[in-house]
């Protein structure tokens, strides 16, 4: 029987038959291990009349029963195995229940080799600095630290957790402080990092300047998303990795033609609904057998993923089979009887420059089983992608909900229920695992409070109200600036006539202008108050230096300050200087009094002229800031 330490250095280049012989030996030892240490497997196999001794070829494993998570969740609470050192990890529970999986020395020893192999494929070299996954996040992450050391790279971990978008700042800070050559993370976290950089006005590729390659795990990369990430980060390659707590381990080579299965540590099958092996190229259920006799044994474990083996050989020369993991039932909707995964929809959308990087969620709608419904962040582009999706999935009815200003945090979850969309909640009370939430900034309270309903798609009435507010705001700004331009020209013309007549004329015309200006300013204030939350900004952020120092924050706060200064200036004009123009003297007023009041009126007119010029400049600056905000 092979032990994992016997895995040959060049195993990935061995021909299929030779690998199969080696793997058969590993499989037998795993079956013996499971039979010896797992009551569940022993009882199950006995009930099915199978035993490890009857395995003669790898394919004989197909006679063994398939187990699912529910198999392990039945029965009383257990204490962990007391066999040597043991560390437990919990799955994310995306299918409803988490599963605790045990890792021991044998597991670490066995999985370090394929992990290091994958990291080498991804270009990691001895002496590199790597910003790695947090070791407590996943067994893959725990193994990764040892693999990095095996290669001779130094590893840095950032503060916080990959599960919290609010911690993306710590990741970016670590990037700046550690200057890694290699980054290992998840696609959602990477996308959040890009967004955060943009919010803060940072150049993303400068932030990633030291990084040569990135490796991501946890969400299948579409070709469009890979190109997007590679371009935005300015790295040479973005590699995809795959791995499950149950023992599946996969990595891409530099040709990016699909993930190679590390055949020394796992035996993966893709089966159809009848439990038969699917043909290569045909999607089906993914079944994992961990080929390591250690930790929690997994033999023919259906992970819930849908996957497909990629036909043909990879030109890189690696002989390991290639697999594409498509998604899980919880990331799949059924339209006209056909399963459609989030990956398949994202693959189409991510080809569009105006859509790649936006979060899209499939909407499960039992009332309309023949309608493909997708919720997408942002406003609808000119060229609606519904037609593309309808063509691709041969579904005549595709409905896209554009989420407008609602901004979501990237997560692993890819499907929501139509009621969530309708009522603006994700489930009853508690936010499901990994669910997206409103995230004007990653540290917003909304992201910190999973139990709170997160967002509401805008109702028709709200949308109409928002449109009215936008029109009023725009008209208000145009009226204000326009009236001040007119006033400016008027003041210049008045300089050509005798001063006292000019004062009288400006007093007469000024009333209308002042009323118009004041009305416009009040409207701008009210509609502006309405629009601030629509920009995805909490009022509390207006006093948060991190937001204020960002380009958007600077523009918004400048607008507010300019508005306040305009209010003050207009108040001075209305209540301080304008009354001085309106003084009526008695008929018997002395010449001295008339001259004195005339001088006062002229001084007031001069001030009004100065303030109206200030108003004009401030109004134009506010317009520019506003245009920047809605760019």
């Amino acid at each position: 029987v092979n032990s994992q330490s016997d895995v040959p250095e060049d195993f990935e280049y061995w021909p299929t038959l030779r690998r199969a012989t080696w793997r058969l030996s590993a499989l037998r030892s795993v079956l013996e291990y499971a039979n010896q240490y797992s009551d569940i497997y022993r009882d199950l196999w006995e009930a099915h009349g199978v035993n490890p001794a009857q395995i003669i070829a790898l394919e004989d494993i197909q006679s063994f029963p398939i187990v699912e998570k529910s198999t392990f969740l039945q029965g009383p609470r257990r204490r962990p195995s007391s066999l040597g050192t043991s560390v437990g990890f919990s799955t994310r529970g995306t299918s409803g229940e988490p599963l605790v999986v045990w890792l021991d020395d044998n597991d670490i020893d066995a999985f370090v080799r394929p992990c290091a192999r994958g990291l080498r494929w991804a270009g990691l070299q001895k002496g590199d600095r790597a910003l790695g996954l947090s070791p407590t996040w996943h067994r893959l992450a725990a193994v990764e630290g040892h693999a990095l050391r095996e290669i001779g790279a130094s590893v840095c971990h950032f503060w916080g957790t990959l599960a919290d978008p609010g911690h993306v700042d710590y990741f970016l800070d670590a990037l700046a402080a550690f200057r890694p050559n290699f980054v290992s993370t998840t696609p959602p976290f990477l996308l959040m990092a890009i967004r955060r950089c943009e919010k803060r006005g940072w150049n993303v590729s400068e932030r990633f300047a030291s990084v040569r390659n990135v490796s991501v795990v946890g969400l299948a990369l579409t070709p469009g998303l890979r190109r997007f990430l590679t371009d935005r980060l300015g790295v040479k390659h973005v590699f995809e990795r795959g791995g499950s707590q149950e023992g599946a381990a996969l990595d891409e080579c530099s040709l990016h033609t699909g993930m190679h299965v590390h055949e020394d540590v796992c035996y993966l099958e893709v089966i159809d609904e009848d439990g038969r092996a699917s043909d290569v190229g045909q999607a089906g259920r993914l079944v994992v057998t961990k080929l390591v006799p250690g930790g929690s044994p997994f033999v023919r474990y259906a992970t819930g993923d849908r996957a497909v083996f990629i036909p043909g050989d990879c030109e890189c020369g690696i002989q390991f089979a290639r697999l594409r993991i498509l998604g899980r039932p919880e990331s799949t909707v059924v339209v006209s009887g056909k399963p459609i995964t989030g990956y398949e929809v994202r693959r189409i959308l991510d080809e569009r420059q105006d859509l790649v990087g936006r979060i899209s969620l499939l909407v499960r709608d039992a009332q309309h089983p023949n309608v493909l419904r997708v919720a997408i962040e942002g406003q609808a582009p000119v060229d609606d992608p519904s037609v593309l999706l309808a063509e691709e999935f041969r579904s005549p009815d595709v409905r896209i909900e554009w989420l407008g200003g609602v901004e979501l945090a990237w997560s692993f979850r890819q499907v929501i229920d139509v009621n969530d969309l309708k009522y603006g909640t994700y489930g009853s009370g508690r936010l499901p695992d990994g669910m997206a939430c409103v995230a004007p900034t990653p540290k917003s309270p909304a992201c910190q409070q999973p139990g709170v309903p997160k967002w509401k798609p805008p109702s028709r009435g709200f949308t109409m109200m928002n449109a009215i507010m936008t029109v009023v705001h725009t008209i208000g700004a145009a009226v204000f600036v326009g009236s001040n331009v007119l006033l400016e020209r008027l003041v210049r013309r008045l300089e050509a006539i005798p001063p006292l007549e000019a004062v009288r004329l400006s007093e007469l015309l000024g009333v209308d202008m002042a009323v118009m200006n004041s009305a416009a300013l009040v409207l701008l204030g009210l509609t502006g108050l309405w629009k601030i939350p629509q920009l995805g900004v909490h009022f509390g952020q207006l006093v948060d230096w991190r937001y204020v120092s960002s380009p958007d924050g600077l523009a918004l706060v400048s607008m507010i300050l300019l508005w306040v200064s305009l209010m003050v200036s207009s108040a001075f004009m209305m209540f301080c200087f304008r009354p001085r123009l309106l003084v009526k003297l008695p008929y018997n007023a002395s010449r001295q009094a008339i001259d004195s009041e005339g001088a006062n009126a002229m001084a007031a007119a001069t001030w009004i002229s100065r303030l109206s010029r200030f108003n004009l400049v401030a109004g134009v600056l506010a317009l520019i800031a506003g245009a920047f905000l809605v760019r």
Binding site: T136, W137, A142, H157
Partner: protein, 227 residues
């Protein structure tokens, strides 16, 4: 494992770097802290904390390269890594259906959420030894005693790990691991330049707890340290 790289942690208030051989003394100290808090050999310990927290990365040699023997190996105990996220806290009631815990170590920011989650799911935590970790910046260090909880200060950037005493209700500074400068009011990990300044309100007292003579304790209430 042929080379001798450094493992680093990028923290909000600096970078923490460990060479080979640096980690094990800290794992020994954390084991002492856990013992002090009442964690016993053979315990199953659930840890709801970040990977960059010493409470997590010193948990087992399986988690951290360069660590020969972590808490799991020293006590010995079994460690379950649950990460320091609300996502994982929300799973705790369902994880408890599968695994019986003896100890639950929770990052203090998550403590309230854990209690709410467990209350909503009808899960009682009375059977567990509950430990909350007061993290970066010593937030919450001066908060009053919490009934039913044991606490440990974890100042990551200076590696100050100080458990709260059940007897004197002050935080114990282990003499074998730290030196204390009562004039400058700093605590320094032996063999390092990691100085931890104490908050103004903290009382620094020597020989005040009968459980650990010749040791400094840090308290925030006037009567602490005089049980």
């Amino acid at each position: 494992m042929t080379t001798n790289p450094v493992i680093s942690f990028a923290l909000p208030d600096g970078q923490l770097r460990f060479g080979i051989g640096d980690l094990d003394p800290w794992a020994e100290h954390l084991t002492w802290c856990f013992n002090f808090l009442g964690v016993r050999s053979g315990a199953t310990i659930g840890v709801l904390d970040f990977g960059a927290s010493p409470v997590s990365f010193l948990g087992s040699r399986l988690l951290t390269p360069g660590l020969v023997s972590g808490v799991a190996e020293r006590l010995p105990a079994t460690v379950i890594c649950l990460d320091g996220s609300r996502e994982r806290v929300a799973l705790v009631p369902r994880i408890l259906d599968q695994v019986s815990f003896d100890v639950l170590v929770v990052r203090d920011e998550l403590r309230t959420f854990l209690l709410e989650t467990c209350r909503d799911d009808g899960v009682r935590l009375d059977d567990f030894l509950l430990i909350s970790t007061l993290g970066t910046g010593l937030r919450g260090w001066d908060q009053p005693w919490i009934l039913g909880w044991r606490r440990i200060v974890v100042a990551e950037a200076t590696m100050l790990l100080a458990p709260e005493c059940n007897h004197c209700r002050a935080f114990h500074i282990r003499g074998a691991r730290y030196s204390v400068d009562p004039v400058e009011r700093t605590i320094t990990a032996l063999g390092t330049q990691w100085h931890q300044a104490l908050p103004d309100r903290a009382n620094l007292v020597l020989n005040a707890c009968s459980l650990a003579r010749d040791e400094w304790i840090v308290s925030f209430s006037p009567d602490a340290g005089h049980p």
